[in-house]
Subunit: 222 residues, 2 copies
């Protein structure tokens, strides 16, 4: 029984990896960097994206694929801030997006005129770490209300990510949170991780995030 | 392929449900109510348990099974506050505890002298909703830093829970969080849900939680 489960699981993952490679090809052909935004529930992914769309929307053509277990709440919020299509994916119980869902979502987007794609994954620090969805890079987000040791408790996600956002820094004065300890824990797991310290609410720290995004687009040869 | 995946999955779940039924029997025989504590990462499960052990430890014999993806950090924190065994389960990548892990953990506990068992599940609002681990009731915890709409975004967890804890209420003055809206969203999904509003940090609201726990033990016939 156990052997058969693993065998089937491996086939499902292999099929996903094939599709992820095709997603990656399509994005590369269209020269669209795609950031897969992963986090705990409620760490502020949607608000960060809202702010990003409001601030960079005039300068960059940003598309969003937004995944949720149920509801289209996030996609509906994001659609208010962009004229580009925000594509909602409801996973119906699954704890992560998969490459097939992203492939289908891409069909609804005009990649040729898109500068940058965000994929807002399901809020969960476990499952999305195991599923390649064809993204250019994973950005892991956590918040200063969550506890410093999240990176060592959910190491795979922090290993797989290239960038990390530590959000809600506006709440630091009211919390007993050691930001340097949190970053040290993350670097234990992944020494290469580049950090952004932000408050998506007040805007603190977002300038560097915006510069980074503009840089990503410029690095993708036109 | 899809059919076979579903078939194998159903067998795994059926086997889990059998084991969960045996866990439930063992707990009933020993007259130990078992609360399965589920939440997002960082909503404060471990701190709530630390406070509960400190406050009720003289009065009740409380045992804990603590599940984590990696690390024994939570179990180590809890072990400081109780003489009873805290049993750590490291899931090694899985996003939930299963009934087999709980069964094995029970072997290490002295159920005959235990009044109350907490099972601290992996921090995740998706997977643990689907896995019966033989608990008496699920307690879903979320925090006022997470956004009011969590119950409708992760409805299965709120449907399956009998009790809900809305934690970190000490931060309400610094947040734009509508506590009544959050509770209304939760009641949309599960009208029977009984709510506790707590700050595990300051102790606000914990009296009602402690009374509830004492009541659960008293209701379990000796």
């Amino acid at each position: 029984m156990a052997v058969r489960t693993i065998e089937v699981r491996e086939k499902v993952m292999a099929r996903n990896d094939e599709l992820a490679a095709r997603v990656r090809e399509r994005l590369a052909e269209a020269r669209v960097p795609a950031l897969n935004l992963v986090s705990s529930p409620g760490s502020g992914k949607t608000l960060l994206l809202e702010q990003t769309l409001k601030t960079l929307g005039d300068r960059l053509e940003i598309a969003v694929v937004s995944g949720d277990v149920q509801t289209q709440n996030d996609a509906d919020r994001l659609a208010l801030h962009t004229d580009r299509l925000v594509q909602a994916v409801v996973t119906g119980g699954a704890c992560h997006l998969d490459a097939r869902q992203v492939m289908t979502a891409l069909d609804a987007l005009d990649l040729a005129t898109t500068d940058l794609l965000f994929i807002e994954n399901v809020g969960n620090l476990v499952c999305p770490a195991s599923w390649d969805i064809g993204e250019t890079a994973k950005v892991v987000m956590f918040s200063v209300t969550e506890g410093e040791d999240k990176p060592v408790k959910y190491p795979k996600m922090f290993e797989k990510a290239s960038f990390a956002i530590l959000n809600k820094i506006d709440l630091l004065p009211y919390l007993d949170f050691d930001i340097e300890a949190a970053i040290a824990f993350a670097r234990q797991v992944n020494p290469e991780l580049r950090f952004f310290r932000t408050s998506a609410l007040t805007g603190e720290g977002l300038e560097k995030w915006y510069e980074f995004l503009i840089g990503r687009v410029e690095k993708t040869p036109a």
